[in-house]
Structures are given as structure tokens and as C-alpha cells.
């Protein structure tokens, strides 16, 4: 009997588990529209600017926001969870972009845990007022 069995728990004939990246959750979104643009607001609490990716490709708008790990939950730091209702999962959601959106002018900002994406409509789609000329 040696101490090594205690140091290496787990069975020898089972492969070791590699911890996979935690699953992502879909953030809740609101979508607003006016004549010039669409606004998409997504709840991404805990996401930081560096971890946010917004990109448009082949008519799909992909939102991805990485959530910083909770300070108290990092291994090795002090702080034992007493109650856990929410795990720090990353956010991911894909939308089909309607035609007539100018993909080059899409803007995004992050404010108080809300990701705000602005999707301007292309010029051709904006309503236009036709002047009536009197002759």
C-alpha cells in the first residue's frame, strides 16, 4: 500500500476527462425599429468589452459575449459559494439579418450589461418623400 493511490484518484482504465468550455446561454433581446434603422438590445450581464464579438457574415448576425469568471469562483481564491443560482456562462445568439441592412455600418456598444447593436437600413430602403411638382 502506498500513498500514490490517494494522490491519483480515478480509475486507470478510464480516460481522463478534459473539462469542456461551459455551454453558452442565449441572451434575452429586444428589437426596435424606425424608418432608418433596427436596434437590438441584448442582456449580457457580466460581459466585458474585450470579450464581446459582434459580426455579420452571410446574412447572419452573431453575438458572442464572454463572461468574466466570478471572482469568488476562481479556483484557489477565497470564497466558498453558499448559493449558486447562476453559473457564469458565455452568451451566444445568432440572428438572420433582414435584407436591406447596410452591413458595413453596423455599430455595437456595451453599457451596464446591455449590448446595443445598431443596424442601419441601406439608403435604397429608407422611405422617401417624393416632391410633387406643380407645372
Amino acid at each position: 500500500m502506498s500513498n500514490t493511490t490517494a494522490i491519483q484518484p480515478g480509475t486507470k482504465n478510464q480516460p481522463e476527462r478534459v473539462e469542456q468550455r461551459p455551454p453558452t446561454v442565449m441572451p434575452l433581446v429586444d428589437v426596435f425599429e424606425n424608418a432608418n434603422e433596427l436596434l437590438l438590445w441584448a442582456d449580457v450581464p457580466g460581459a466585458v468589452r474585450d470579450g464581446v464579438e459582434v459580426h455579420v457574415d452571410k446574412g447572419q448576425l452573431t453575438l458572442f459575449a464572454r463572461r468574466a469568471p466570478e471572482p469568488g469562483m476562481e479556483p484557489g481564491t477565497r470564497g466558498a459559494p453558499v448559493e449558486t443560482e447562476q453559473r457564469p456562462y458565455d452568451y451566444h445568439r445568432v440572428f438572420a439579418v433582414p435584407s436591406g441592412i447596410d452591413a458595413t455600418k453596423i455599430e455595437a456598444e456595451l453599457n451596464a450589461g446591455v449590448l446595443k447593436v445598431r443596424l442601419p437600413k441601406s439608403e435604397a430602403l429608407k422611405p422617401r418623400r417624393i416632391e410633387v411638382k406643380v407645372s
Binding site: 493511490t5 428589437v31 425599429e33 442582456d43 466570478e70 443560482e85 451596464a112
Partner: protein, 150 residues
């Protein structure tokens, strides 16, 4: 003796794995229907509580709530977090989809320790509210020195 411990440890690992899988079922359920997620969960905002040794930390996901809309009350043995999240529709826009609901919330906890009300802090950052309750001196963990007697 060590072999026994390994068996014991392994049994608990199995339980841990089971718990993780069950947790994941809920997560999948909620993330598959974001429109239901809010209602499917019994409480809003979701709060994690940590015991950081000399303090008790509450962390709540409250995206889009301004700091003035919170009301945090500390009584000798309890903490209440209440507030309101308003739905804001920007001026001149029509609503296409609305999953982020307005909420009036109130959640209370009984505290397991006495806390020092004077040193309580609450901060709001990136849509996460952190309430830091410092434990009262008598509730702080204390290091006991072992003295050898000859």
C-alpha cells in the same frame, strides 16, 4: 486505508457528476427558450452568494438597471434587495420583439452571521450588482494557535 478513501471519494465524484448533469438540463431548458427563461426561473434577479471568510458577498445579474433604481435594506438578521427594471422603448421606435421584461423585484435573505452595517458596500458594474457584507467581529473566522506543552 488509502484505498478506502479513494472508493469514498469516487462515490462522491459520481454524485457531483450527477448534480452537474441535472444542472445542465435546466440550463439547456432555459437557454433553448429565452422567452421563457425569465419566467421559468422562479426568482429575478439571479443571485450568487459567496462566503469570502471575513465577508459575505451577494452578486446579482441586473442588466439595464440604473443604480438609483435599487433599494437595499439591511436589518440585523436580514438583507432585502428590491428595485425596478423599466422597459425603455427609445423615442420614435416601434417594438419588433420584446423579451427583456420590465420587472419589479424584491428578494430577501436571512443572514447566517451578524454583519457590520457600517462597512457594507454595494457596487454596480457591467450589469452585475455586488453587495459586500463584512461580518461582525464576533462572526469573523479566528485562527487558533496550538501551543505545545512540555
Amino acid at each position: 486505508m488509502f484505498h478506502r478513501f479513494v472508493d469514498f471519494d469516487r462515490t462522491f465524484n459520481t454524485f457531483d457528476e450527477l448534480r452537474r448533469r441535472i444542472d445542465r438540463i435546466w440550463d439547456d431548458y432555459e437557454s433553448a427558450r429565452p422567452d421563457l427563461g425569465f419566467y421559468a426561473s422562479s426568482a429575478w434577479p439571479k443571485v450568487n452568494v459567496f462566503d469570502a471568510g471575513d465577508s459575505l458577498v451577494f452578486r446579482a445579474d441586473v442588466p439595464g438597471v440604473a443604480e438609483k433604481d435599487f433599494n437595499i435594506t439591511l436589518t440585523p438578521d436580514g438583507l432585502t434587495l428590491s428595485g425596478e427594471r423599466k422597459t425603455v422603448v427609445p423615442e420614435g421606435y416601434s417594438v419588433q420583439r420584446q423579451e427583456r421584461p420590465a420587472a419589479r423585484f424584491s428578494r430577501s435573505w436571512t443572514l447566517p452571521y451578524k454583519v457590520d452595517a457600517e462597512r457594507t458596500q454595494a457596487t454596480l458594474k457591467d450589469g452585475v450588482l455586488t453587495i459586500n457584507l463584512t461580518k461582525a467581529p464576533e462572526a469573523q473566522p479566528r485562527q487558533i494557535t496550538v501551543r505545545a506543552q512540555s
